[in-house]
């Protein structure tokens, strides 16, 4: 059966994935919107920076995050000054790492679906008396609905699945930074294959069910009539 460490790994993972996804959507939405609308010449630079985690080895990302957030870094000094401290090897550190690591998986689908929103739809909304913010939430967001669903699922799943970054910056402290993917690795290392099976199989089934729901939900959504009351 599941050990206490396994259960805490599951709970830390879910907590981490939920929190990271929420932060990712909050940061990713304005970022993706800006990228989809701007005619800024150097926007490719921003797109490249956001896409970096896609091709960078997670250990490289983890290493630099450790350098940036670790106890000897200038950032930790600043945080200390304000009564905090280094966030390396803490849950907060994990969240920061996850957000950076999963950013492209949230920004790219959002940016894609935002760029299919025709500027005319927004202009129509303006002529009907909707302000900037108003037309973003009542026209752009509903029209980019499928992008939000994809972004949420990819952001969540990718955070659950990360390994290199969390190992580097989290340090696998049980109950604090010990997550599922590392727990599986530990079981395999200890030749404890049945425990590894339990966790790995559970993740497999959970991911599959999640995707089934998304596809059902998404299709249902496009057929369903929505009203603006």
């Amino acid at each position: 059966m599941l050990s206490e460490t396994d259960i805490s790994a599951i709970s830390v993972t879910i907590k981490l994935a939920l929190l990271s996804t929420a932060i990712l959507i909050a940061i990713g939405t304005p970022l993706a919107w800006w990228l989809s609308q701007t005619k800024f010449k150097f926007k490719v630079v921003f797109e490249a920076i956001i896409a970096l985690p896609l091709i960078l080895p997670p250990t490289v990302l983890g290493f630099y995050l450790l350098m940036t957030l670790g106890s000897n870094s200038p950032l930790a000094g600043v945080l200390e000054y304000f009564g905090g401290g280094s966030i390396a090897f803490t849950f907060s550190g994990l969240v920061v790492g996850s957000v950076i690591y999963s950013l492209p998986f949230v920004v790219q689908p959002l940016q894609n679906s935002f760029s299919t929103v025709r500027s005319e739809s927004l202009e129509v909304a303006a002529t009907l008396g909707a302000s900037n913010i108003d037309r973003f939430f009542t026209v752009a967001v509903p029209l980019a609905r499928s992008g939000f669903i994809t972004a949420t699922v990819l952001g969540f799943a990718h955070t659950v699945g990360e390994f290199g970054v969390v190992l580097m910056i989290g340090g696998n402290i049980p109950g604090e930074t010990g997550v599922l993917s590392i727990a599986i690795y530990d079981h395999v290392e200890a030749m404890d294959y049945s425990q590894a099976h339990l966790l790995a199989g559970g993740l497999l089934v959970a991911s599959f069910i999640m995707l089934i729901f998304v596809y059902l939900f998404n299709r249902h959504f496009s057929v369903m009539r929505s009203r603006d009351w």
Partner: protein, 353 residues
């Protein structure tokens, strides 16, 4: 009144529009593709920004050199070429988009717009289930719900086939008759212009080259529309009586009475008449033995050559201006000159409503 003086530089194109138009009736903005018609409409809506300029509609000033009122704060109704309905909402959702944001709209007002455009039966439909004509009706209703100070229509019929066009034209006629606000209507269709326009604004290469009442714009030799074999005149007449023996009706206008086939319009209704210059001939004496019913005394105002063999003659019939297209030879043998008293014979007229 609309007072407009806007200059907008776009890539490879400059709109330099200066005009005033009356605050009632349909002003058709007429010009070839790429002449800046849509840009002008967008500028009035605030969708296209200019550095400086002046725009006043009724008593609202929307733009001065140092103030630019954003689109969502301008009281405009804008109907886009392809209707621009929100696909993620149904018909009532599209209409409620306005009523939710505009407080204090009276139910009577909303109902009157629904009636005007016959919306009631469409309310629960999805946008994908509407025909092109129905989409435009919903779009016009949605634009009118904003209680606009001006209605801007950007080629609302161009995406529709003939059948759908004829379906929606009566609704546009009723807008014309029932709305108290100015309507700017962009089109390059002569048919729509002659049917709907009270005023015409001619635009070419981003400049307004003429602006005035429809018949003045059609018949003035200063304007390009009169310099063509296809020149026409348009004016209003009233049905005054019918001749049931021959199935004809009599239409009265300032220059006399037209006799035309009866098309069942009630007595006293106003009709819009179009006379093509090619269908008008001129005689010095009133012909007695002729099949032509519509003969009126007229005075020659001006004659200009049209090509090598033809001339266009501008005539007035007790104040109503009419054009005739003749051969240069006929004009010479009749010795026509400014001030000649003649008779015009009108072979056929078209009734536009």
């Amino acid at each position: 009144m609309i007072e407009c003086q806007l200059k907008i530089k776009l890539e490879g194109f400059t709109l330099d529009a200066k005009f005033t138009t009356p605050d009632k009736g349909i002003t058709v903005i007429f010009g070839p593709s790429g002449s800046g018609k849509t840009t002008l409409l967008r500028a009035i809506a605030g969708l296209e920004k200019s550095d400086s300029g002046f725009l006043k509609v009724g008593d609202s000033i929307w733009q001065t050199d140092d103030n630019f009122v954003p689109t969502h704060k301008r009281q405009i109704g804008y109907v886009f070429q392809d209707a621009g309905l929100f696909d993620h909402l149904d018909v009532s959702g599209n209409l409620n988009y306005v009523t939710k944001r505009k407080t204090g709209l009276k139910k009577v007002f909303i109902d009157s717009i629904y009636t005007l455009l016959d919306i009631e039966s469409l309310l629960n439909r999805r946008i994908g289930q509407l025909s092109g004509g129905e989409k435009q009706r919903v779009a016009i209703a949605r634009a009118l719900l904003t209680n606009p100070k001006i209605l801007l229509l950007d080629e609302p019929l161009s995406a529709l086939d003939l059948k759908r066009k004829n379906e929606i034209l009566p609704y546009l006629d009723s807008l014309h008759n029932q709305l108290e606000i100015p309507i700017l209507y962009v089109t390059h269709s002569q048919d729509e212009t002659s049917r709907l326009a009270d005023h015409i604004m001619l635009i070419e290469d981003g400049k307004i080259i003429g602006n005035g009442p429809i018949n003045e714009m059609l018949t003035s030799f200063d304007m390009p529309l009169s310099h063509s074999g296809d020149a026409i005149s348009i004016f209003e007449a009233r049905v005054i009586s019918r001749d049931t023996d021959f199935n004809l009706m009599h239409l009265e206008f300032n220059g006399g009475q037209f006799i035309v086939p009866d098309n069942a319009l009630p007595i006293d209704s106003l009709v819009r008449i179009r006379v093509a210059a090619r269908d008008v001939s001129i005689t010095k004496k009133k012909q007695a033995d002729t099949s032509i019913l519509n003969i009126f005394p007229a005075v020659v105002e001006e004659i200009v050559p049209e090509g090598n063999a033809q001339v266009i003659v501008q005539l007035t019939l007790n104040g109503v201006v009419l054009l005739a297209c003749l051969t240069r030879k006929s004009s010479a043998s009749l010795k026509l000159y400014k001030g000649s008293s003649v008779f015009v014979q009108v072979k056929s007229v078209a009734i536009l409503n």
